[in-house]
């Protein structure tokens, strides 16, 4: 054992068993493991999750036991445990109802019953209002409410969603034809095909996928890792969940192709904690495919969708984004060259490898005041009004494009082509494909205040512009909303927007003012 001062509290037998199931049983001679086995810190979050799922919270005994078994200083383990919204360091009932109070669920009239906990977006926007029940015990479980996934609202013109629309069985392994084809082509040819395709990252940043792959493939440092970013947490986004729940084998096959092409020894998929069905289906698909891919599950932190924060989270540290450069293609997970791709990005890959349908389509998550909410797939460049028509949406007041990190558009500003260039020219972003529609009765002020609250809650707290800026932004908006103005609010908001955009470490802080600013500028809300 290293020279650590440990917590005095002992774990209960249940907690010990739950943690042992993750970290292995303790050897009779204590944990006198080989030096090479000592870097097991990456098991911290799985161990803490296991303890909480067993007894409902992370007790001092469980925290101390996890620290001791993984040789992590208790102060650091405490820092990690207190980072995640879904880990509780205080005793709470085994059963907790998390009620979504985010944008789409607010539009659907969400209310938080007594004893329930309010939650940021649960990614169930097409069936709003939604909630998640977590039940700790010997057979822990999480239930998405409503449980039923509605059928896709669109039947024609589909590419990425084709198999789902055709009723593919998410539990029986198909033939991996694209993977076979990739192996015939060889890694270099696969990368060439991806580079020749128009595929840009679908997580929000729109970086060319082929260039990322090539950069990792060329790195001499080994091993290389693939990380599938399935921490989809942008309010209003649920596309990756639908893909993982209903066609998990497509994603697993795509990951296998990416690993093959870029020389990755091992793959990880990091799925947000709020997607229990996706956990089960993806885990099953991984096992059925026999690939070296490991499922990691978050614990309630939007910022962990930022790629470097996601690495920190997997490695057992607080999900605090790293400064870039160096970029993940050089220094990524465990300090090694890493390909990070979003779920939707990856499921494009089998289509590219097999040829065939060459249309560049994109998924859009429609929710809010829409007659047919759900996941839509249209070709890039489709005008936004055509998409809104498909979904039967009449945005009387506004559309939020791109999520909390995106922007509000007035009904007369909607003529935007849904392409990266088109969005850029219109001064907006497609982000993760969020389209939330605000109808006649919608409370826009409430939506803007909620967005400000969301960023304040989700800031990791590392850098000053975001940690304090998101709080000051929310305060200024509340002063405007309540009429208790001091007159400098708009100047303060503009200054905060600039320092958060210019000086924050990561994309969370850099975009924390964009939707708010667009509401003030485009909609005249609180102006």
């Amino acid at each position: 054992m290293p020279d650590l001062k440990l917590l005095a509290d002992a774990p209960s037998a249940d907690e010990r068993a739950a943690i042992d199931a993750v970290v292995g049983e303790e050897a009779a001679n204590g944990d006198r493991v080989a030096r090479s086995d000592r870097t097991r810190r990456h098991l911290l979050l799985p161990a803490l999750r296991a303890a909480q799922r067993r007894v409902g919270w992370v007790s001092p005994g469980a925290l101390g036991y996890a620290s001791r078994r993984l040789e992590i200083p208790p102060a650091e383990a405490y820092g990690v445990a207190t980072f995640y919204a879904l880990l509780s360091l205080e005793e709470q009932p085994a059963e907790v109802l998390h009620v979504c109070t985010d944008l789409s669920c607010r539009l659907a009239g969400a209310t938080v019953p007594e004893g329930a906990q309010p939650s940021p977006c649960l990614g169930l926007c097409e069936r709003a209002p939604a909630s998640l029940r977590t039940v700790a015990g010997t057979k822990p479980r999480e239930e998405q409410i409503p449980a039923e996934s509605p059928p896709l609202p669109q039947a024609s013109g589909l590419k990425l969603l084709r198999r789902i629309a055709d009723g593919v069985d998410p539990e029986s392994p198909p033939e991996f034809r694209a993977l076979e084809r990739a192996r015939e082509l060889g890694p270099e040819r696969v990368i060439e095909l991806v580079k020749a395709s128009p595929l840009l990252g679908r997580g929000g940043a729109a970086f060319p996928t082929g260039i990322k792959w090539e950069a990792v493939a060329r790195q001499p440092a080994k091993p290389h890792y693939l990380v599938c970013n399935a921490d989809e947490s942008e309010p209003g986004t649920f596309k990756d969940r639908v893909l993982m729940e209903q066609d998990p084998f497509a994603l697993v096959e795509a990951m296998a192709i990416a690993m093959y092409a870029t020389g990755c020894e091992k793959g990880f998929i990091y799925i947000r904690a709020e997607y229990p069905l996706a956990h089960r289906r993806i885990q099953h698909a991984i096992e059925a495919s026999g690939l070296d891919i490991e499922l990691r599950i978050g614990a309630g932190a939007y910022v962990c969708g930022e790629e470097t924060a996601l690495f920190q989270s997997i490695e057992g540290y607080r999900g605090e984004p790293r400064n870039k450069p160096p970029f993940p293609v050089e220094v990524g997970l465990f300090g090694k060259p890493t390909v990070v791709n979003n779920v939707e990005t990856l499921v494009n890959v089998p289509h590219i490898v097999l040829g065939g349908d060459a249309r560049d389509t994109r998924l859009f998550c429609l929710s809010g005041n829409v007659s047919r909410p759900g996941l839509y797939e249209v070709e890039l460049g489709t005008p936004l009004p055509a998409l809104l028509e498909l979904a039967g949406a009449e945005p009387a007041k506004a559309v939020l494009l791109g999520g909390a990190a995106g922007s509000f558009l007035r009904p007369d500003q909607l003529d935007v082509p849904l392409s990266f260039e088109g969005a850029r020219e219109a001064g907006v972003t497609l982000g993760s494909g969020v389209v939330i529609v605000f109808g006649e009765q919608a409370d826009l002020v409430g939506a803007v205040l909620r967005i400000a609250e969301f960023f304040r809650d989700e800031s990791c707290g590392q850098c000053v512009p975001c940690r304090v800026g998101t709080v000051r932004q929310e305060e200024a908006l509340h002063r405007l909303a309540s009429g208790k103005k001091n007159g400098n609010e708009l100047a303060v908001l503009a200054d905060l927007a600039q320092v958060m955009r210019d000086a924050s470490i990561c994309g969370l802080g850099q975009t924390a003012a964009s939707a708010v600013a667009s509401a003030v500028e485009n909609l005249g809300v609180l102006a």
């Binding site: 650590l4 001062k5 917590l7 001092p60 925290l63 620290s67 200083p73 208790p74 102060a75 650091e76 383990a77 405490y78 820092g79 207190t82 980072f83 919204a85 360091l89 932190a301 607080r318 400064n323 450069p325 304040r456 809650d457 989700e458 800031s459 990791c460 707290g461 590392q462 850098c463 000053v464 512009p465 940690r467 304090v468 800026g469 998101t470 709080v471 000051r472 305060e475 400098n488 303060v492 200054d495 905060l496 600039q498 320092v499 955009r501 210019d502 000086a503 924050s504 470490i505 850099q510």
Partner: protein
């Protein structure tokens, strides 16, 4: 050597140097709070940001490696606005009254923290005999955590806990220091830029209104306890030692001491 342009002047620095190193070479006074010469840069305070041509956002000079051909502006409107706002944000959320550098930056960038809010009232924690912690003065620069951890002491008594505006420096489960892994080396005090960490001897004199830094003399000597030979700087007021530090640039200590060197000076002035 790497050559870059800083504020219109060509500057040469060694491979691996940062933009901050280049600024210093060009004698451009660049504000820093979370940066320490003996610590790994964490680039969290963002007061050292500069404008790098071609970059979408400003970049932290303390950790961004200098590259050939970079064109850097350290005093553009964007830079000045961000530095001013960082100081307003800190000044509105932290008691900076014992943070001379931060106060100077507030003045230099014409920051007006009061328009964003009032700082919290002092909340000194005295749970041990040797030093005081007041997290109302903490700007969360991570320096104490680094000094307690792998950069210096490898004790790991403290870490950042919580999230967002609730993030704070904490022992495990917030236990008092005597129940934590703290070994009272005081190396966290040595790196703290705001007076959030302070020897009790200094804190008590300040409380009594008797801390007169301008009258103090500094005497360099060698620690009398063991054979390592750490350099000590004795801070003397009215012929009494009121604080002990060690020079940052000393080969042996790099500003660090142990409990004896930093706190064991009472025997000199036993009454």
């Amino acid at each position: 050597m790497i050559e870059l342009t800083v504020d219109g002047n060509a500057v040469q620095v060694e491979e691996g140097a940062t933009i901050l190193d280049a600024c210093r070479r060009a004698q451009i006074d660049t504000p820093t709070l979370c940066y320490g010469d003996t610590l790994t840069p964490v680039n969290v305070c963002r007061v050292c940001v500069v404008e790098l041509e071609g970059a979408r956002t400003l970049v932290p000079s303390c950790s961004r490696r200098a590259e050939d051909g970079m064109v850097v502006h350290t005093d553009s409107e964007r830079v000045r606005t961000s530095r001013r706002m960082v100081m307003e944000l800190l000044g509105s959320s932290t008691d900076l009254s014992t943070a001379p550098d931060a106060l100077a930056y507030i003045e230099r960038y014409d920051a007006d923290p009061a328009r964003l809010g009032a700082p919290p009232a002092p909340a000194p924690k005295l749970d041990n005999d040797l030093y005081m912690r007041d997290y109302s003065k903490c700007i969360l620069c991570y320096k104490c955590v680094e000094a307690c951890g792998v950069d210096h002491q490898n004790t790991f008594a403290i870490a950042v806990a919580g999230r967002g505006i609730g993030a704070h420096i904490s022992t495990e489960l917030d236990v008092p220091l005597p129940e934590s892994a703290c070994v009272y080396c005081g190396n966290c005090i040595a790196v703290c830029p705001t007076g959030a960490l302070m020897p009790t001897s200094e804190f008590e004199l300040r409380q009594a209104g008797e801390w007169r830094e301008e009258e103090q003399t500094e005497v360099d000597t060698v620690c009398p306890y063991c054979g390592v030979g750490c350099n000590l700087t004795l801070h003397v007021q009215d012929d009494e030692i009121v604080k002990v530090t060690s020079p940052d640039d000393h080969d042996v200590t790099r500003g660090n001491l142990c409990i004896k060197g930093r706190f064991g000076f009472q025997y000199v002035q036993n009454k």
